[in-house]
Amino acid sequence: MEKIIRFTSRTVVLAQADIDTDQIVPARFLTTTTREGLGKALFADWRYDDKGKPRPDFVLNQPAAAGCSILVAGDNFGCGSSREHAPWALVDYGIRAVISTGIADIFRNNSLKNGLVPVIVDADSHAWLLANPGAEVSVDVEACQISLPDGRKLGFPLDRFSRYCLLNGVDQLGYLLQQSEAISRFEKNRAWQP
């Protein structure tokens, strides 16, 4: 996995609250057996019309969205199913951080395993970000903070382990495999067996 330390980008804004994983990537795209190439399915039903043509009024189809790698979204982003296809699609499209006041648990977990940084901010800062699409924002994983164009710095919660994995491009399976002796001991010594 690629190391993620800090990056800067203009934001793209989807202000709607409770954007669920069925919007991020509709179920009909889940018949794939690889994680690659899902970027084209991202927000498919909002992004394209019946004939597969981009809808000009959808924010990702507007020229200003080109090259943006930070998504600012309404509260409770990523609710719904456990499909990891949601962060896969966002990352494949080019999104590297999602900023909101709330991010659903399973989506958050999945994001951290794919180098997508979940950033939770307070309601006032969120309101400013929603009202100022295209703002240039820096995400600093090392300092666990984002910087807004006016110089404001906002901390965001990130547990030490996830931060370490993002900064060093470490995948968590390697860490788990190192616990193999402890796992064997647990299996041998537990009071009951499943």
Partner: protein, 469 residues
Amino acid sequence: MTARSLFEKVWDDHQVVAESADAPAVLYIDLHLIHEVTTPEAFTVLKSRGLALRRPDLTLATLDHSTPTVPIRSLADLDGLVGKAAANQIRVMIDNSHDAGVRMLGFDSDQRGIVHVIGPELGITQPGMTIVCGDSHTSTHGAFGALGFGIGTTEVGHVLATQCLLQRKPKTLAVTVNGQLNRGVTAKDIILGIIGKIGVSGGTGHVIEYRGSAISALSMDERMTICNMSIEGGARAGMIAPDDTTFEYLAGRPMAPAGAAWDAAVRRWRTLPSDPDARFDREVVLDVAELAPMITFGTNPGMVIPIDAPVPADTGNTSFRKSLQYMGVDAGKPMLGRAVDVVFIGSCTNARLSDLRQAASIFAGRRVSDGVRVMIVPGSQAVKKQAEAEGLDRIFTAAGAQWRESGCSMCLGMNGDTVGRGELCVSTSNRNFEGRQGIGARTVLASPLTAAAAAVTGRISDPRELLAS
């Protein structure tokens, strides 16, 4: 010793390595359920790293999400029924399970079904276990006092390779439900009422424990409906303390312990309920004595009203307005009486035998209203067989409903069972998200009774008016 909750007891019992400031806990997983949609990439990672499956004996595979709900004669039929991509995914799943030595309950098994329906009915879902699956409705298994939660595909790979997950300990939320349900009001209405109260993100970061007299009085089927939709309230897991109802359900099931092992298991399971002084991070109390059948009006499960209430007034919120526009629903107006196009009775929320019996109590002696398409999809092949033994299938088909093979079907429309653009579907499933049941589909979540009432009247109707007195 400190008083502990049910969740804390199960958590403590599975910590291989306790969590610290630097690292999450290493949590042992007793049962890993896998299906065709969220595992192929995990098997690919394992193969590319030369890793074997650590515990194929604690892994159980089935096919449910993209499977057809019409009978198939051979795997070659799949391409024509569900499309090449879905068919390929199913074949990859069968091959992966075979190569890894995982028991696969596939098309040749009469134990196949929706993953969250078959675990309990086989008795492999048991109190005190940790159970995961690459599916957010794994919370269903919490009805047995197990800690069940959904995981992503990367985590599926972690469990395949190590039988463990890295987890931060979640907070706890006690939802106490008291009061006696009125006639025509069901477990589905309770959980929709709870989600309406706490909101779709109310349980984020928490494990819910459902407790109180109204919960204890529920059957296992009903408890599963409640725990199933924990994720719709934002909680990855929802649990109910195991009791005699739980043990009676499990006794004699094919994969449940037997003989002396059963007695030992029940002794252990009786120690699981939360201690009287157990503390929860948050508590919510709900009385269901006045609860009416509940239906959703918007595009998330928190947008829910009593069936006889109007849609809430417009507060100017743009997400609310967008949602109502999508649904073709007016603020301040009733849902009751709106014409429906499709009725779906199925899904891991409401496709067990008792759900089908309830639906049949409305269909009996009535006809599906003209122009309404009704699909009834049992949760498993075993449920299908039991329903047919009771003659429920004949009640449904005589009424004009379609009676199908088991699977997830129209809950998420992956297998070709979909709702058309602009059509209104009253559905016993768990998500009314935009496009969930098909592009442009409009979903109203409801109980099997309310769904059946919509089928026979052709409109959103109060099931209490149709129940035999």
